[in-house]
């Protein structure tokens, strides 16, 4: 049985908050294996879309299909277990665990022992190698035993990506993964995303056009909760509507 070409599809997805509609009639198709970028001006509804896809918010209308299965009514944890994992726009780590433990929490699920309150904690050590490998990928290896609390902001973001990767997600939702990072980090993370994209699908929100231009296969532009344009970077960046609403005169290339 071959999996469908489209991994994620939304049909007429909408969300309104007390009469204000943040997302209206979004029809999104994310192709398997692609890096799909979601861009748009501030307040366009990108994060809201993510929240709907992961059920942190209840859609007001529409349907969400994952691998052809309707997941519109499933709970957040179940969706995560189906393989849709997200990162947050505002940093999300476990501050009082060590960096290594942070990653291990994510890896732990595949052991299936999360409810085994009688099992020794040493049984988790088998995960250390994999965790260190992931930390190496995001350049945090040397901080493995540091309390996460003490990391600078940018490093917390990197850790978050490592944690997300640990889930071996089929579809990864990244909300502004490079936000707040220095240039080197941005480049490294961009590269990292590109690398991990092999064999999985990525849907990301990003304001850094350099990142989008270099790795996104396909781009959807949202404005005021609705799709404004869609296509490759070349197509989208030439679209006058997009330029006016989003990119601005520098073509978004402000770095």
């Amino acid at each position: 049985m071959s999996l469908p070409e489209t991994i994620l599809e939304t049909i007429g997805l909408g969300k309104s908050f007390k009469g204000f509609s943040a997302v209206t009639d979004v029809n999104l198709k994310v192709a398997r294996g692609a890096i799909h970028a979601l861009i748009g001006p501030n307040g366009a509804g990108k994060t809201t879309c993510f929240n709907l896809l992961t059920k942190f918010l209840e859609p007001s209308s529409g349907q969400i299909l994952f691998n052809g299965v309707d997941i519109t009514s499933e709970a957040p944890a179940l969706i995560a277990r189906r393989g849709i994992i997200r990162s947050f726009q505002i940093s999300a780590v476990f501050p009082h665990l060590t960096v290594l433990e942070n990653v291990r929490v994510a890896l732990q699920r595949e052991l299936g022992t999360e409810f085994y309150f009688w099992r020794s904690g040493d049984s988790l050590n088998v995960l250390n190698d994999r965790a260190l490998e992931l930390l190496h990928e995001v350049g945090l290896e040397e901080f493995a035993h540091e309390q996460t609390l003490n990391l600078a902001y940018g490093r917390k973001r990197a850790l978050e990506i490592a944690t997300t990767l640990a889930m071996e997600p089929e579809l990864m939702l990244l909300d502004e993964p490079t936000q707040g990072m220095g240039h080197e980090d941005v480049e490294r993370v961009t590269e990292l995303i590109d690398r991990v994209a092999k064999g999985r699908t990525i849907l990301m929100v990003e304001h850094n056009m350099k990142v989008v231009a270099s790795i996104a296969d396909r781009i959807t532009v949202l404005q005021r909760g609705a799709v404004l344009a869609e296509g490759s970077y070349q197509e989208v960046s030439k679209n006058p509507l997009v330029v006016e609403a989003y990119m601005g005169s520098h073509g978004g290339d402000n770095l």
């Binding site: 957040p76 947050f88 022992t113 999360e114 409810f115 309150f117 009688w118 099992r119 904690g121 988790l124």
Partner: protein, 319 residues
């Protein structure tokens, strides 16, 4: 470092085994029961970040249940304690099932409210004996083997039970399950997004904590031979918080130290006062005996202001 802890543990164990030859067995057993109670409570507060203000319900509830089974149904102490624990677990499932859906202070308030309802049920139910208390619980024989009438026999049984409870709790904390609990305590939405159904974890740990608190309560009822409303009143929930706080929240030894300090205080404040008056020459200390609440209050204030890491925290170095 690890071996130091191990030796310390052995030393404490040795003291515990020898203790009844020097001090009152019943008094010691009460300390042990409270230590287990506080440890069970700490499993929720210190390791999961849930402040339950209703743990007295499980402690006292299991005590009433086990007492009723032993006195009125003729169940042996072993069976009664097990059933008492199951009762506390069931009560925990009920209260926890409602409370865990809410966070922070709302969680605390729901546990308080439900425990308060349970208190009124105990107060009004004819079987509990109301203010008279549930008196005359027989000690009997443990599984028909050990005669518990002798204080020493009972003491070692209680010590073994409490020790088992402690080891069980420390295992829970370090288990894969415990690791997820810590993660939930730290950042709940992130734990959800990693695919963990946090409510199930909270539910399970709540039940475990309730059951262990119940174990402490049921054993205490057996030890004392009665069960009274004091044990289900909200001030008991406050007391267990105090014990945990005095000892050190989120430490393994904390609850034990805390219960030792508090029980000593409750029983000995008069003597302590006389002693202080003797060594300091300040006559006022002699009246300390009438003012347990004042002293308890001061300890509370002092711990919160100066000693937040508890007594145990003072002696363990910062990492």
């Amino acid at each position: 470092m690890k071996s130091f802890k191990f030796w310390l543990f052995l030393a404490i164990l040795a003291v515990a085994i020898a203790a009844p030859f020097f001090a009152y067995p019943i008094f010691l057993m009460k300390i042990l029961c409270f230590a287990l109670f506080a440890a069970a409570f700490n499993l929720l507060l210190g390791y999961t970040g849930l402040l339950s203000f209703g743990h007295a319900a499980f402690f006292g509830g299991a005590g009433y249940c086990a007492g009723y089974l032993m006195r009125d149904m003729g169940v042996g102490p072993g069976g009664a304690i097990i059933l008492g624990v199951l009762f506390a677990a069931a009560l925990g499932a009920l209260i926890g099932g409602l409370a865990i859906r809410r966070q922070g202070i709302y969680f605390s308030m729901i546990t308080l409210a439900l425990a308060q309802m349970f208190y009124f049920i105990c107060l009004q139910a004819p079987a509990s004996g109301g203010e008279d208390g549930f008196q005359g619980i027989p000690r009997g024989e443990l599984f028909g083997l050990i005669d518990l009438q002798a204080d020493l026999n009972l003491y070692y049984c209680v010590l073994a039970t409490v020790l088992a409870g402690f080891l069980f709790i420390s295992r829970i904390i370090s288990s894969p399950f415990g690791q997820i609990l810590k993660a939930i305590k730290e950042n709940e939405p992130r734990a959800i997004s990693l695919g963990y159904n946090v409510n199930r974890f909270k539910f399970l740990v709540f039940i475990l904590s309730a059951a262990l608190a119940g174990l402490a309560g049921a054993v205490q009822a057996l030890v004392l031979g009665f069960e009274t409303l004091t044990d289900v009143h909200w001030s008991m929930s406050g007391l267990v918080i105090l014990m945990t706080l005095v000892g050190g929240v989120g430490t393994l030894a904390g609850p034990f130290v805390g219960s030792l300090v508090i029980v000593l205080l409750e029983h000995r404040v008069g003597e302590i006062g006389n002693f202080l008056a003797q060594i300091t020459g300040v006559n006022w200390f002699n009246s300390l005996g009438e003012s347990v609440t004042i002293v308890t209050g001061l300890i509370f204030i002092f711990c919160v202001m100066a000693f937040r890491r508890g007594l145990v925290g003072i002696f363990t170095k910062k990492q």
